[in-house]
Protein backbone atom coordinates (compact mmCIF):
# COMPACT_ATOMS: atom_id res chain seq x y z
CA UNK A 1 0.00 0.00 0.00
CA UNK A 2 2.87 2.38 0.84
CA UNK A 3 4.41 1.45 -2.53
CA UNK A 4 1.18 2.27 -4.30
CA UNK A 5 0.89 5.61 -2.55
CA UNK A 6 4.45 6.47 -3.63
CA UNK A 7 3.56 5.48 -7.18
CA UNK A 8 0.37 7.53 -7.26
CA UNK A 9 2.09 10.49 -5.63
CA UNK A 10 4.67 10.52 -8.42
CA UNK A 11 1.91 10.17 -11.01
CA UNK A 12 0.00 13.12 -9.56
CA UNK A 13 3.16 15.20 -9.37
CA UNK A 14 4.13 14.40 -12.95
CA UNK A 15 0.73 15.29 -14.39
CA UNK A 16 0.55 18.69 -15.97
CA UNK A 17 -3.16 19.05 -15.25
CA UNK A 18 -2.28 19.04 -11.55
CA UNK A 19 -0.32 22.26 -11.96
CA UNK A 20 -2.99 23.87 -14.12
CA UNK A 21 -5.57 23.19 -11.44
CA UNK A 22 -3.31 24.45 -8.65
CA UNK A 23 -2.55 27.62 -10.62
CA UNK A 24 -6.26 28.12 -11.27
CA UNK A 25 -7.02 28.07 -7.53
CA UNK A 26 -5.15 31.38 -7.29
CA UNK A 27 -8.14 32.90 -9.10
CA UNK A 28 -10.00 32.52 -5.79
CA UNK A 29 -7.43 34.79 -4.14
CA UNK A 30 -7.76 37.36 -6.91
CA UNK A 31 -11.56 37.26 -6.82
CA UNK A 32 -11.58 37.66 -3.05
CA UNK A 33 -9.24 40.62 -3.42
CA UNK A 34 -11.59 42.33 -5.87
CA UNK A 35 -14.67 41.61 -3.77
CA UNK A 36 -12.99 42.81 -0.59
CA UNK A 37 -11.87 45.96 -2.38
CA UNK A 38 -15.39 46.68 -3.61
CA UNK A 39 -16.87 46.09 -0.14
CA UNK A 40 -14.21 48.32 1.40
CA UNK A 41 -15.04 51.12 -1.04
CA UNK A 42 -18.72 50.79 -0.12
CA UNK A 43 -17.79 51.02 3.55
CA UNK A 44 -15.70 54.14 2.88
CA UNK A 45 -18.52 55.93 1.06
CA UNK A 46 -21.61 54.62 2.89
CA UNK A 47 -20.23 53.77 6.29
CA UNK A 48 -21.12 50.58 8.22
CA UNK A 49 -24.32 48.69 7.40
CA UNK A 50 -23.25 47.04 4.15
CA UNK A 51 -21.74 43.55 3.71
CA UNK A 52 -18.77 42.52 5.79
CA UNK A 53 -15.65 40.90 4.35
CA UNK A 54 -15.05 38.73 7.40
CA UNK A 55 -12.32 36.16 6.75
CA UNK A 56 -12.81 36.72 3.02
CA UNK A 57 -13.24 32.98 2.41
CA UNK A 58 -16.96 33.28 1.83
CA UNK A 59 -16.43 35.66 -1.08
CA UNK A 60 -14.96 32.95 -3.33
CA UNK A 61 -16.05 29.84 -1.47
CA UNK A 62 -17.75 28.14 -4.43
CA UNK A 63 -14.58 28.06 -6.48
CA UNK A 64 -12.13 25.83 -4.55
CA UNK A 65 -14.39 22.75 -4.29
CA UNK A 66 -14.86 22.70 -8.07
CA UNK A 67 -11.15 23.14 -8.73
CA UNK A 68 -10.02 20.57 -6.17
CA UNK A 69 -12.67 18.27 -7.54
CA UNK A 70 -10.94 18.64 -10.91
CA UNK A 71 -7.68 17.63 -9.28
CA UNK A 72 -9.36 14.37 -8.33
CA UNK A 73 -10.91 13.95 -11.77
CA UNK A 74 -7.59 14.35 -13.58
CA UNK A 75 -5.88 11.97 -11.19
CA UNK A 76 -7.67 9.07 -12.89
CA UNK A 77 -9.54 10.26 -15.98
CA UNK A 78 -6.31 10.56 -17.96
CA UNK A 79 -5.57 6.91 -17.25
CA UNK A 80 -8.98 5.94 -18.56
CA UNK A 81 -8.92 8.09 -21.69
CA UNK A 82 -5.40 7.01 -22.69
CA UNK A 83 -5.92 3.38 -21.68
CA UNK A 84 -2.96 3.50 -19.34
CA UNK A 85 -5.24 2.17 -16.61
CA UNK A 86 -4.75 -1.26 -18.19
CA UNK A 87 -0.99 -1.06 -17.73
CA UNK A 88 -1.45 0.23 -14.20
CA UNK A 89 -3.86 -2.58 -13.32
CA UNK A 90 -1.49 -5.26 -14.61
CA UNK A 91 1.11 -4.09 -12.10
CA UNK A 92 -1.03 -4.19 -8.96
CA UNK A 93 -2.67 -6.87 -6.87
CA UNK A 94 -6.14 -5.57 -6.19
CA UNK A 95 -7.90 -2.75 -7.91
CA UNK A 96 -9.49 -1.14 -4.89
CA UNK A 97 -6.06 -0.48 -3.36
CA UNK A 98 -5.28 1.61 -6.44
CA UNK A 99 -8.36 3.70 -5.83
CA UNK A 100 -7.51 4.07 -2.16
CA UNK A 101 -3.94 5.14 -2.98
CA UNK A 102 -5.21 7.68 -5.48
CA UNK A 103 -7.74 8.98 -2.95
CA UNK A 104 -4.98 9.33 -0.36
CA UNK A 105 -2.67 11.37 -2.58
CA UNK A 106 -5.47 13.51 -4.01
CA UNK A 107 -6.82 14.22 -0.53
CA UNK A 108 -3.36 15.04 0.78
CA UNK A 109 -2.50 17.37 -2.05
CA UNK A 110 -5.93 19.03 -1.98
CA UNK A 111 -5.80 19.45 1.80
CA UNK A 112 -2.39 21.10 1.74
CA UNK A 113 -3.14 23.25 -1.30
CA UNK A 114 -6.63 24.08 -0.02
CA UNK A 115 -5.17 25.09 3.33
CA UNK A 116 -2.53 27.26 1.71
CA UNK A 117 -5.19 28.80 -0.51
CA UNK A 118 -7.39 29.56 2.48
CA UNK A 119 -4.55 31.35 4.26
CA UNK A 120 -3.67 33.26 1.11
CA UNK A 121 -7.29 34.25 0.65
CA UNK A 122 -7.61 35.29 4.29
CA UNK A 123 -4.48 37.43 4.31
CA UNK A 124 -5.31 38.99 0.95
CA UNK A 125 -8.77 39.95 2.18
CA UNK A 126 -7.38 41.39 5.42
CA UNK A 127 -4.72 43.32 3.53
CA UNK A 128 -7.36 44.89 1.29
CA UNK A 129 -9.66 45.64 4.22
CA UNK A 130 -6.65 47.33 5.88
CA UNK A 131 -7.99 47.68 9.39
CA UNK A 132 -11.54 48.74 8.54
CA UNK A 133 -13.96 47.09 11.01
CA UNK A 134 -15.39 44.82 8.31
CA UNK A 135 -12.62 42.23 8.31
CA UNK A 136 -11.72 39.44 10.69
CA UNK A 137 -8.84 38.56 12.96
CA UNK A 138 -7.32 35.27 14.10
CA UNK A 139 -7.92 36.61 17.59
CA UNK A 140 -11.51 35.54 17.00
CA UNK A 141 -11.71 31.81 17.49
CA UNK A 142 -14.10 31.12 14.57
CA UNK A 143 -11.99 33.06 12.09
CA UNK A 144 -9.03 30.76 12.62
CA UNK A 145 -11.13 27.59 12.61
CA UNK A 146 -12.97 28.73 9.48
CA UNK A 147 -9.62 29.00 7.70
CA UNK A 148 -8.36 25.75 9.20
CA UNK A 149 -11.34 23.68 8.05
CA UNK A 150 -10.92 24.74 4.42
CA UNK A 151 -8.27 22.10 3.84
CA UNK A 152 -10.74 19.38 4.84
CA UNK A 153 -13.30 20.74 2.39
CA UNK A 154 -10.72 20.70 -0.41
CA UNK A 155 -9.77 17.11 0.39
CA UNK A 156 -13.39 15.97 0.31
CA UNK A 157 -13.90 17.76 -3.02
CA UNK A 158 -10.83 16.05 -4.46
CA UNK A 159 -12.04 12.59 -3.46
CA UNK A 160 -15.49 13.42 -4.85
CA UNK A 161 -13.94 14.29 -8.21
CA UNK A 162 -11.89 11.08 -8.16
CA UNK A 163 -14.99 9.02 -7.46
CA UNK A 164 -16.99 10.70 -10.21
CA UNK A 165 -14.25 10.20 -12.79
CA UNK A 166 -13.81 6.54 -11.82
CA UNK A 167 -17.50 5.81 -12.20
CA UNK A 168 -17.94 7.85 -15.39
CA UNK A 169 -14.53 7.03 -16.94
CA UNK A 170 -14.78 10.22 -18.96
CA UNK A 171 -13.10 13.54 -18.39
CA UNK A 172 -15.92 15.71 -19.82
CA UNK A 173 -18.56 13.66 -18.00
CA UNK A 174 -16.82 14.01 -14.67
CA UNK A 175 -16.20 17.73 -15.14
CA UNK A 176 -19.84 18.36 -15.99
CA UNK A 177 -20.98 16.39 -12.95
CA UNK A 178 -18.51 18.31 -10.84
CA UNK A 179 -20.02 21.63 -11.85
CA UNK A 180 -23.65 20.50 -11.71
CA UNK A 181 -23.56 18.61 -8.39
CA UNK A 182 -22.42 21.54 -6.19
CA UNK A 183 -25.00 23.75 -7.87
CA UNK A 184 -27.84 21.34 -7.19
CA UNK A 185 -28.37 22.28 -3.50
CA UNK A 186 -28.40 25.98 -4.38
CA UNK A 187 -31.06 25.40 -7.01
CA UNK A 188 -33.13 22.96 -4.94
CA UNK A 189 -33.10 25.31 -1.99
CA UNK A 190 -35.36 27.74 -3.83
CA UNK A 191 -38.11 25.16 -4.35
CA UNK A 192 -38.13 23.38 -1.03
CA UNK A 193 -40.34 24.25 1.97
CA UNK A 194 -39.09 25.70 5.22
CA UNK A 195 -36.79 23.37 7.16
CA UNK A 196 -35.77 21.49 4.03
CA UNK A 197 -34.36 24.43 2.13
CA UNK A 198 -32.09 25.23 5.05
CA UNK A 199 -30.89 21.65 5.33
CA UNK A 200 -30.25 21.33 1.62
CA UNK A 201 -28.32 24.58 1.35
CA UNK A 202 -26.26 23.44 4.33
CA UNK A 203 -25.09 20.43 2.32
CA UNK A 204 -22.65 22.24 0.02
CA UNK A 205 -18.99 21.68 0.81
CA UNK A 206 -18.18 25.35 1.61
CA UNK A 207 -21.21 25.53 3.88
CA UNK A 208 -20.23 22.29 5.60
CA UNK A 209 -16.68 23.46 6.30
CA UNK A 210 -18.07 26.62 7.90
CA UNK A 211 -20.46 24.56 9.99
CA UNK A 212 -17.53 22.34 10.91
CA UNK A 213 -15.80 25.45 12.22
CA UNK A 214 -18.98 26.42 14.11
CA UNK A 215 -19.15 29.75 12.29
CA UNK A 216 -22.37 31.48 13.48
CA UNK A 217 -25.28 31.32 10.99
CA UNK A 218 -23.30 29.04 8.70
CA UNK A 219 -26.10 26.50 8.30
CA UNK A 220 -28.45 24.08 9.93
CA UNK A 221 -25.88 21.64 11.35
CA UNK A 222 -23.41 21.65 14.19
CA UNK A 223 -19.74 20.67 13.78
CA UNK A 224 -20.37 16.98 14.53
CA UNK A 225 -23.11 16.63 11.94
CA UNK A 226 -21.10 18.59 9.40
CA UNK A 227 -18.12 16.29 9.94
CA UNK A 228 -20.35 13.24 9.53
CA UNK A 229 -21.78 14.57 6.27
CA UNK A 230 -18.30 15.34 4.92
CA UNK A 231 -17.11 11.84 5.79
CA UNK A 232 -20.33 10.55 4.22
CA UNK A 233 -19.41 12.32 0.99
CA UNK A 234 -16.06 10.56 0.96
CA UNK A 235 -17.69 7.18 1.52
CA UNK A 236 -20.40 7.90 -1.06
CA UNK A 237 -17.71 8.86 -3.58
CA UNK A 238 -15.45 5.90 -2.99
CA UNK A 239 -18.00 3.09 -2.61
CA UNK A 240 -19.51 3.22 -6.11
CA UNK A 241 -16.05 3.91 -7.53
CA UNK A 242 -14.67 0.80 -5.81
CA UNK A 243 -17.54 -1.31 -7.10
CA UNK A 244 -17.05 0.13 -10.59
CA UNK A 245 -13.29 -0.38 -10.76
CA UNK A 246 -13.55 -3.89 -9.28
CA UNK A 247 -16.27 -5.20 -11.52
CA UNK A 248 -15.84 -3.55 -14.87
CA UNK A 249 -13.59 -4.77 -17.65
CA UNK A 250 -10.66 -2.41 -17.99
Amino acid sequence: MIDLVASEWLKLRSLRATYYVLAATLSAVVLTGFAAYSISRYFDTHGPGGDAVGTGLGLSADLPPVLFGMLGVFAISGEYTTGMIRLTLTTIRSRWTLLLAKAAVVAAMAAVAGQALAFATYFTAQAVVAGRPIGASFAEHTALTEVLTSGAGAAVAGVLGLGLATVLRSTPGALIALVVLPLAPTVLERFLPAPWNDWVSSLTIPSLTRQLAAVPDAGAFGPATAATVLVGYVVLSLLPATVAINHRDA
Binding site: K11, S14, L15, E79, R86, L87, T90, H247, D249, A250
Partner: protein, 366 residues
Protein backbone atom coordinates in the same frame (compact mmCIF):
# COMPACT_ATOMS: atom_id res chain seq x y z
CA UNK B 1 3.49 -20.91 -17.54
CA UNK B 2 0.14 -19.77 -18.85
CA UNK B 3 -2.85 -22.09 -18.93
CA UNK B 4 -6.01 -21.13 -20.74
CA UNK B 5 -8.95 -23.49 -20.32
CA UNK B 6 -12.26 -23.32 -22.17
CA UNK B 7 -11.94 -19.55 -22.16
CA UNK B 8 -14.92 -17.67 -23.57
CA UNK B 9 -15.61 -13.97 -23.79
CA UNK B 10 -18.74 -12.34 -25.12
CA UNK B 11 -19.13 -8.60 -25.60
CA UNK B 12 -22.86 -8.17 -25.99
CA UNK B 13 -23.66 -10.33 -28.99
CA UNK B 14 -20.03 -10.54 -30.16
CA UNK B 15 -18.24 -13.74 -29.29
CA UNK B 16 -14.66 -12.52 -29.12
CA UNK B 17 -13.25 -15.78 -27.72
CA UNK B 18 -14.97 -19.18 -27.73
CA UNK B 19 -13.88 -22.17 -25.68
CA UNK B 20 -10.20 -21.50 -26.14
CA UNK B 21 -7.80 -23.97 -24.53
CA UNK B 22 -4.03 -23.84 -24.76
CA UNK B 23 -0.86 -23.78 -22.70
CA UNK B 24 2.13 -21.54 -22.99
CA UNK B 25 5.14 -23.38 -21.63
CA UNK B 26 8.19 -21.82 -20.00
CA UNK B 27 11.52 -21.89 -21.81
CA UNK B 28 10.00 -21.14 -25.20
CA UNK B 29 8.82 -18.20 -27.21
CA UNK B 30 5.21 -18.83 -28.14
CA UNK B 31 3.72 -16.93 -31.03
CA UNK B 32 0.05 -16.02 -30.96
CA UNK B 33 -1.37 -15.70 -34.46
CA UNK B 34 -4.75 -14.86 -35.89
CA UNK B 35 -6.39 -12.44 -38.27
CA UNK B 36 -7.57 -9.01 -37.15
CA UNK B 37 -10.37 -9.47 -34.66
CA UNK B 38 -9.53 -13.14 -34.07
CA UNK B 39 -9.44 -12.54 -30.32
CA UNK B 40 -5.73 -12.37 -29.49
CA UNK B 41 -5.84 -9.13 -27.53
CA UNK B 42 -9.04 -10.18 -25.80
CA UNK B 43 -7.39 -13.43 -24.70
CA UNK B 44 -4.36 -11.55 -23.41
CA UNK B 45 -6.56 -9.11 -21.52
CA UNK B 46 -8.31 -12.02 -19.84
CA UNK B 47 -5.02 -13.71 -18.95
CA UNK B 48 -3.95 -10.42 -17.37
CA UNK B 49 -7.15 -10.18 -15.36
CA UNK B 50 -8.24 -7.00 -17.11
CA UNK B 51 -11.36 -8.47 -18.65
CA UNK B 52 -13.49 -11.00 -16.84
CA UNK B 53 -14.01 -14.21 -18.84
CA UNK B 54 -17.64 -15.01 -19.63
CA UNK B 55 -16.61 -18.58 -18.78
CA UNK B 56 -13.45 -20.62 -18.49
CA UNK B 57 -10.20 -19.81 -16.78
CA UNK B 58 -6.87 -18.20 -17.60
CA UNK B 59 -4.06 -18.91 -15.16
CA UNK B 60 -0.56 -17.53 -14.78
CA UNK B 61 1.77 -19.83 -12.83
CA UNK B 62 -1.26 -21.78 -11.72
CA UNK B 63 -3.32 -18.91 -10.34
CA UNK B 64 -5.48 -16.13 -11.70
CA UNK B 65 -3.63 -12.85 -12.28
CA UNK B 66 -5.57 -11.23 -9.45
CA UNK B 67 -4.23 -13.87 -7.06
CA UNK B 68 -0.55 -13.39 -7.91
CA UNK B 69 1.33 -12.31 -4.79
CA UNK B 70 3.77 -10.02 -6.53
CA UNK B 71 2.33 -9.35 -9.98
CA UNK B 72 5.11 -7.17 -11.38
CA UNK B 73 7.77 -9.77 -10.64
CA UNK B 74 5.69 -12.60 -12.02
CA UNK B 75 4.20 -11.17 -15.19
CA UNK B 76 5.12 -8.29 -17.46
CA UNK B 77 2.83 -7.08 -20.23
CA UNK B 78 2.80 -4.82 -23.23
CA UNK B 79 -0.75 -4.44 -24.50
CA UNK B 80 -0.70 -1.26 -26.53
CA UNK B 81 2.30 1.01 -26.49
CA UNK B 82 0.10 3.99 -27.37
CA UNK B 83 -1.73 3.63 -24.07
CA UNK B 84 0.46 5.96 -22.02
CA UNK B 85 -0.02 9.45 -20.66
CA UNK B 86 2.07 11.70 -22.86
CA UNK B 87 2.66 14.46 -20.33
CA UNK B 88 5.12 12.43 -18.29
CA UNK B 89 8.77 11.83 -18.99
CA UNK B 90 9.76 8.27 -19.82
CA UNK B 91 11.61 8.13 -16.52
CA UNK B 92 8.67 9.33 -14.43
CA UNK B 93 6.36 6.91 -16.24
CA UNK B 94 8.55 3.91 -15.47
CA UNK B 95 9.42 5.13 -11.99
CA UNK B 96 5.72 5.40 -11.11
CA UNK B 97 5.14 1.84 -12.31
CA UNK B 98 8.26 0.66 -10.48
CA UNK B 99 7.19 2.21 -7.18
CA UNK B 100 3.92 0.29 -7.37
CA UNK B 101 5.87 -2.97 -7.37
CA UNK B 102 8.42 -1.82 -4.83
CA UNK B 103 11.09 -1.74 -7.52
CA UNK B 104 14.05 0.57 -7.18
CA UNK B 105 15.31 3.39 -9.32
CA UNK B 106 18.33 1.37 -10.42
CA UNK B 107 16.11 -1.08 -12.25
CA UNK B 108 14.38 1.81 -14.03
CA UNK B 109 17.71 3.09 -15.30
CA UNK B 110 18.64 -0.46 -16.26
CA UNK B 111 15.56 -1.14 -18.39
CA UNK B 112 15.78 2.28 -20.03
CA UNK B 113 19.30 1.37 -21.10
CA UNK B 114 18.24 -2.09 -22.16
CA UNK B 115 15.57 -0.80 -24.53
CA UNK B 116 17.80 1.97 -25.84
CA UNK B 117 15.91 4.90 -24.35
CA UNK B 118 18.54 6.08 -21.87
CA UNK B 119 19.04 9.24 -23.90
CA UNK B 120 15.33 10.03 -23.99
CA UNK B 121 14.62 9.23 -20.35
CA UNK B 122 14.00 12.85 -19.39
CA UNK B 123 11.91 13.68 -22.45
CA UNK B 124 8.15 13.80 -22.41
CA UNK B 125 6.50 10.73 -23.91
CA UNK B 126 4.22 12.95 -26.03
CA UNK B 127 7.21 13.65 -28.26
CA UNK B 128 8.10 9.97 -28.72
CA UNK B 129 7.93 8.19 -32.07
CA UNK B 130 5.91 5.01 -32.39
CA UNK B 131 9.02 2.87 -32.10
CA UNK B 132 10.19 4.76 -29.02
CA UNK B 133 6.81 4.19 -27.39
CA UNK B 134 7.06 0.52 -28.27
CA UNK B 135 10.46 0.38 -26.57
CA UNK B 136 9.03 2.18 -23.56
CA UNK B 137 6.22 -0.38 -23.40
CA UNK B 138 8.75 -3.20 -23.51
CA UNK B 139 10.73 -1.47 -20.77
CA UNK B 140 7.60 -1.37 -18.61
CA UNK B 141 7.01 -5.07 -19.21
CA UNK B 142 10.58 -5.87 -18.18
CA UNK B 143 10.62 -3.70 -15.03
CA UNK B 144 9.89 -6.47 -12.55
CA UNK B 145 12.18 -8.94 -14.34
CA UNK B 146 9.14 -11.22 -14.59
CA UNK B 147 9.05 -14.92 -15.38
CA UNK B 148 6.09 -14.52 -17.71
CA UNK B 149 5.94 -11.99 -20.53
CA UNK B 150 2.82 -11.20 -22.53
CA UNK B 151 3.41 -8.90 -25.47
CA UNK B 152 0.71 -7.78 -27.90
CA UNK B 153 2.30 -6.88 -31.23
CA UNK B 154 5.55 -5.61 -29.72
CA UNK B 155 7.33 -5.49 -33.06
CA UNK B 156 5.07 -2.86 -34.61
CA UNK B 157 6.91 0.33 -35.32
CA UNK B 158 10.36 -1.00 -34.43
CA UNK B 159 13.19 -0.36 -36.87
CA UNK B 160 15.17 -3.31 -38.25
CA UNK B 161 17.73 -2.95 -35.48
CA UNK B 162 14.95 -2.87 -32.93
CA UNK B 163 13.27 -5.95 -34.40
CA UNK B 164 16.49 -7.89 -34.28
CA UNK B 165 17.19 -6.66 -30.76
CA UNK B 166 13.73 -7.72 -29.57
CA UNK B 167 14.08 -11.11 -31.22
CA UNK B 168 17.41 -11.72 -29.50
CA UNK B 169 16.02 -10.44 -26.20
CA UNK B 170 12.90 -12.62 -26.28
CA UNK B 171 14.86 -15.68 -27.30
CA UNK B 172 17.36 -15.15 -24.50
CA UNK B 173 14.56 -14.54 -21.96
CA UNK B 174 12.93 -17.78 -23.04
CA UNK B 175 16.37 -19.41 -22.87
CA UNK B 176 16.51 -18.43 -19.20
CA UNK B 177 13.38 -20.48 -18.66
CA UNK B 178 10.83 -17.71 -18.86
CA UNK B 179 7.43 -17.95 -20.49
CA UNK B 180 7.03 -15.62 -23.47
CA UNK B 181 3.77 -15.13 -25.34
CA UNK B 182 3.72 -12.66 -28.16
CA UNK B 183 1.32 -11.80 -30.92
CA UNK B 184 2.31 -10.33 -34.23
CA UNK B 185 1.14 -10.08 -37.80
CA UNK B 186 4.72 -10.07 -39.08
CA UNK B 187 5.05 -13.69 -40.10
CA UNK B 188 8.68 -13.71 -41.14
CA UNK B 189 9.64 -12.25 -37.80
CA UNK B 190 7.38 -14.68 -36.00
CA UNK B 191 8.92 -17.66 -37.77
CA UNK B 192 12.34 -16.44 -36.64
CA UNK B 193 11.34 -15.71 -33.06
CA UNK B 194 8.74 -18.26 -32.00
CA UNK B 195 9.44 -21.88 -31.08
CA UNK B 196 5.76 -22.68 -30.84
CA UNK B 197 2.69 -21.22 -32.45
CA UNK B 198 -0.88 -20.88 -31.33
CA UNK B 199 -3.19 -19.92 -34.16
CA UNK B 200 -6.73 -18.79 -33.50
CA UNK B 201 -9.56 -17.76 -35.78
CA UNK B 202 -12.87 -16.19 -34.75
CA UNK B 203 -12.00 -16.81 -31.13
CA UNK B 204 -11.36 -20.54 -31.57
CA UNK B 205 -8.17 -22.54 -31.54
CA UNK B 206 -7.14 -23.57 -35.04
CA UNK B 207 -3.66 -24.87 -34.50
CA UNK B 208 -1.16 -25.39 -31.75
CA UNK B 209 2.22 -26.77 -32.76
CA UNK B 210 5.89 -26.01 -32.99
CA UNK B 211 6.97 -23.63 -35.71
CA UNK B 212 9.21 -26.29 -37.24
CA UNK B 213 6.41 -28.87 -37.41
CA UNK B 214 4.03 -26.41 -38.93
CA UNK B 215 6.44 -25.40 -41.63
CA UNK B 216 7.47 -28.99 -42.28
CA UNK B 217 3.85 -29.83 -42.95
CA UNK B 218 3.76 -27.21 -45.64
CA UNK B 219 7.03 -28.25 -47.25
CA UNK B 220 6.61 -27.13 -50.79
CA UNK B 221 9.20 -29.00 -52.71
CA UNK B 222 12.58 -28.39 -54.27
CA UNK B 223 13.41 -25.95 -57.02
CA UNK B 224 15.64 -27.51 -59.63
CA UNK B 225 17.20 -25.62 -62.52
CA UNK B 226 18.67 -27.73 -65.17
CA UNK B 227 19.60 -27.35 -68.83
CA UNK B 228 18.26 -30.91 -69.24
CA UNK B 229 14.92 -30.18 -67.69
CA UNK B 230 12.80 -32.44 -69.87
CA UNK B 231 14.96 -35.53 -69.37
CA UNK B 232 15.35 -34.85 -65.68
CA UNK B 233 11.58 -34.37 -65.29
CA UNK B 234 10.88 -37.78 -66.72
CA UNK B 235 13.47 -39.38 -64.45
CA UNK B 236 12.11 -37.64 -61.36
CA UNK B 237 8.51 -38.49 -62.18
CA UNK B 238 9.52 -42.09 -62.62
CA UNK B 239 10.92 -41.90 -59.08
CA UNK B 240 7.54 -40.74 -57.78
CA UNK B 241 7.95 -36.98 -57.79
CA UNK B 242 5.47 -34.40 -58.94
CA UNK B 243 6.86 -31.79 -61.28
CA UNK B 244 5.64 -28.38 -62.15
CA UNK B 245 7.58 -26.18 -64.45
CA UNK B 246 8.26 -22.69 -63.18
CA UNK B 247 6.02 -21.39 -66.01
CA UNK B 248 3.00 -23.14 -64.54
CA UNK B 249 3.75 -21.72 -61.16
CA UNK B 250 4.06 -18.33 -62.75
CA UNK B 251 0.66 -18.41 -64.37
CA UNK B 252 -1.50 -16.89 -61.72
CA UNK B 253 -4.83 -17.13 -63.54
CA UNK B 254 -4.26 -20.41 -65.34
CA UNK B 255 -5.34 -23.53 -63.47
CA UNK B 256 -2.51 -25.88 -62.64
CA UNK B 257 -2.07 -28.81 -65.02
CA UNK B 258 -3.46 -32.19 -64.15
CA UNK B 259 -1.17 -34.10 -61.90
CA UNK B 260 0.05 -37.62 -62.71
CA UNK B 261 -2.02 -40.19 -60.90
CA UNK B 262 0.86 -41.83 -59.12
CA UNK B 263 1.39 -38.83 -56.83
CA UNK B 264 -1.92 -38.29 -55.17
CA UNK B 265 -1.03 -36.14 -52.20
CA UNK B 266 2.48 -34.91 -52.46
CA UNK B 267 2.34 -32.63 -49.46
CA UNK B 268 0.94 -35.20 -47.06
CA UNK B 269 3.35 -35.44 -44.17
CA UNK B 270 3.28 -39.22 -43.94
CA UNK B 271 4.51 -39.38 -47.50
CA UNK B 272 7.34 -36.98 -46.90
CA UNK B 273 8.35 -39.04 -43.89
CA UNK B 274 8.39 -42.13 -46.06
CA UNK B 275 10.74 -40.24 -48.32
CA UNK B 276 13.03 -39.60 -45.41
CA UNK B 277 12.34 -35.96 -44.76
CA UNK B 278 12.56 -35.15 -41.10
CA UNK B 279 10.43 -38.06 -39.94
CA UNK B 280 10.39 -36.76 -36.36
CA UNK B 281 8.51 -33.69 -37.47
CA UNK B 282 6.18 -35.44 -39.81
CA UNK B 283 3.27 -35.60 -37.43
CA UNK B 284 3.43 -33.00 -34.73
CA UNK B 285 2.48 -34.27 -31.32
CA UNK B 286 0.38 -31.29 -30.34
CA UNK B 287 -1.64 -31.23 -33.54
CA UNK B 288 -5.29 -32.01 -33.42
CA UNK B 289 -6.19 -34.52 -36.07
CA UNK B 290 -9.51 -32.85 -36.78
CA UNK B 291 -7.91 -29.57 -37.68
CA UNK B 292 -5.09 -31.12 -39.62
CA UNK B 293 -5.15 -29.17 -42.81
CA UNK B 294 -2.94 -31.29 -45.03
CA UNK B 295 -5.68 -33.66 -46.14
CA UNK B 296 -7.57 -31.02 -48.01
CA UNK B 297 -4.55 -28.98 -48.85
CA UNK B 298 -3.66 -29.11 -52.53
CA UNK B 299 -0.54 -27.24 -53.35
CA UNK B 300 -1.06 -26.90 -57.07
CA UNK B 301 -4.82 -26.55 -57.09
CA UNK B 302 -5.14 -23.60 -54.77
CA UNK B 303 -2.26 -21.34 -55.50
CA UNK B 304 -1.44 -18.91 -52.75
CA UNK B 305 -0.57 -15.41 -53.96
CA UNK B 306 2.58 -15.15 -51.87
CA UNK B 307 3.93 -18.39 -53.23
CA UNK B 308 3.19 -17.39 -56.79
CA UNK B 309 4.95 -14.10 -56.42
CA UNK B 310 7.95 -15.91 -55.03
CA UNK B 311 7.77 -18.52 -57.74
CA UNK B 312 7.46 -15.80 -60.36
CA UNK B 313 10.56 -14.06 -59.15
CA UNK B 314 12.47 -17.31 -59.06
CA UNK B 315 11.28 -18.25 -62.54
CA UNK B 316 12.37 -14.91 -63.88
CA UNK B 317 15.77 -15.36 -62.24
CA UNK B 318 15.99 -18.80 -63.81
CA UNK B 319 15.17 -17.42 -67.27
CA UNK B 320 17.81 -14.79 -66.84
CA UNK B 321 20.33 -17.41 -65.85
CA UNK B 322 19.37 -19.82 -68.64
CA UNK B 323 18.04 -23.34 -68.13
CA UNK B 324 14.56 -24.34 -67.10
CA UNK B 325 13.36 -24.39 -63.56
CA UNK B 326 11.25 -27.18 -62.10
CA UNK B 327 9.34 -27.30 -58.88
CA UNK B 328 9.69 -30.84 -57.58
CA UNK B 329 7.58 -32.21 -54.77
CA UNK B 330 7.77 -35.64 -53.25
CA UNK B 331 11.54 -36.02 -53.26
CA UNK B 332 14.29 -34.61 -51.12
CA UNK B 333 16.99 -32.43 -52.62
CA UNK B 334 19.45 -35.24 -51.98
CA UNK B 335 17.33 -37.77 -53.84
CA UNK B 336 16.91 -35.38 -56.76
CA UNK B 337 20.65 -34.79 -56.93
CA UNK B 338 21.33 -38.53 -56.97
CA UNK B 339 18.76 -39.15 -59.71
CA UNK B 340 20.18 -36.29 -61.79
CA UNK B 341 23.65 -37.76 -61.47
CA UNK B 342 22.42 -41.22 -62.39
CA UNK B 343 20.79 -39.85 -65.54
CA UNK B 344 23.67 -37.60 -66.46
CA UNK B 345 21.66 -34.40 -66.14
CA UNK B 346 23.54 -31.28 -65.11
CA UNK B 347 21.92 -29.39 -62.24
CA UNK B 348 22.62 -25.68 -61.89
CA UNK B 349 20.47 -25.04 -58.92
CA UNK B 350 18.95 -27.30 -56.29
CA UNK B 351 17.06 -25.33 -53.64
CA UNK B 352 14.72 -26.91 -51.09
CA UNK B 353 11.83 -24.47 -50.74
CA UNK B 354 10.20 -24.01 -47.40
CA UNK B 355 6.75 -22.64 -47.36
CA UNK B 356 6.88 -19.32 -45.56
CA UNK B 357 4.96 -19.02 -42.32
CA UNK B 358 2.82 -16.42 -44.05
CA UNK B 359 1.74 -18.93 -46.67
CA UNK B 360 1.13 -21.64 -44.10
CA UNK B 361 -0.82 -19.22 -41.91
CA UNK B 362 -2.97 -18.04 -44.79
CA UNK B 363 -3.74 -21.63 -45.61
CA UNK B 364 -4.56 -22.63 -42.04
CA UNK B 365 -6.40 -19.55 -40.84
CA UNK B 366 -8.57 -18.97 -43.89
Amino acid sequence: MIEVTELTKRYGSTRAVSGLTFRVEPGQVTGFLGHNGAGKSTTMRMILGLHRPTSGTALINGVRKQDLRDPMREVGALLDAAEVQGGRTAFAHLQALAYAGGIGRRRVVEVLEEVGLAGAARKRIAGFSQGMRQRLGIAAALLGDPGVLILDEPVNGLDPDGIRWLRTLLRSLAGEGRTVLLSSHLMTEMSLTADRLIIIGRGRLIEESTTADLLARFQSGVLVRSPHAARLSRALEAAGATIRSAHDAQAVEKPAPARPTNTAAPTHPSQSSRLGEEPAHARPAGTKAATHPSQDFRLSEEPVPGRLVAAGIEARAARDAGGEELLVTGLTAAAIGDIALAHGCAVHELVPRRTSLEEAFMEIAK
